[in-house]
Symmetry: C2
């Protein structure tokens, strides 16, 4: 059993963030001993997934939905598929921005404006 401080330390999150996650229903409310939260190791895994999903651009609300859904739920599976597609868009945009920046470096107009030719790629596809 881990105290919140230990969890925070080993997960690299602040205790305030952990309490906040619990508050918004992203983490289950753990058993308490004398009012204090007692965590099992599971929470560390869960915090890792949360951080990871966050880094991929998921909001806490979306992550909560992923956790909360019943297994085998068609709606949830669809959500997952949508997200996979969305991430494809993220990747495409990131690649586009890379080539924009690389182009900018090459053509020395790193103010980006006036360098319209770089932006024709950029103009396409919005989210």
């Amino acid at each position: 059993m881990l105290k919140i401080g230990e969890v925070a330390k080993s997960a690299g999150v602040r205790t305030s963030a952990i309490r906040y996650y619990e508050q918004i229903g992203l983490l289950p409310s753990p058993r308490r001993t004398g009012g204090r939260r007692q965590y099992t190791d599971d929470v560390l895994l869960r915090l890792r997934v949360i951080r990871f999903a966050q880094e991929c651009g998921f909001t806490l609300g979306e992550i909560r939905a992923l956790f909360a859904g019943r297994r085998y739920s068609a709606r949830l599976q669809q959500h997952a598929r949508d997200k996979i597609a969305e991430l494809e868009g993220v990747i495409g945009r990131a690649r586009g921005m890379q080539s924009l920046l690389r182009g900018a470096l090459r053509c020395k107009c790193l103010t980006l404006e006036d360098c319209g030719r770089l932006l024709r790629q950029a103009g396409r596809r919005s989210t």
Copy 2:
């Protein structure tokens, strides 16, 4: 010459956002006629770049820096190179999240927890 409303419409941004961008120095303050902003077509290009960069995870502050820097500035070029590298990370994480979701779909534990094996990939590399 375009009025703010026309710019907003053709760029798909709200006028409030345009004024906000100007306020924070992301868009230059345009010439005014009787107090009203008069834009040239340039602004449309600029707004496209702004939106695009935003979608790639740049903050408005960073985008402003990219615009503001003097051409040929070594510091700016370094910033661009750093960003290119950062985007590599973004792409990697997005791919990781995709395979996490795909794995979750396959193994039917779409609550993501209990599915620790999917997370070994996730555990690695932070930002």
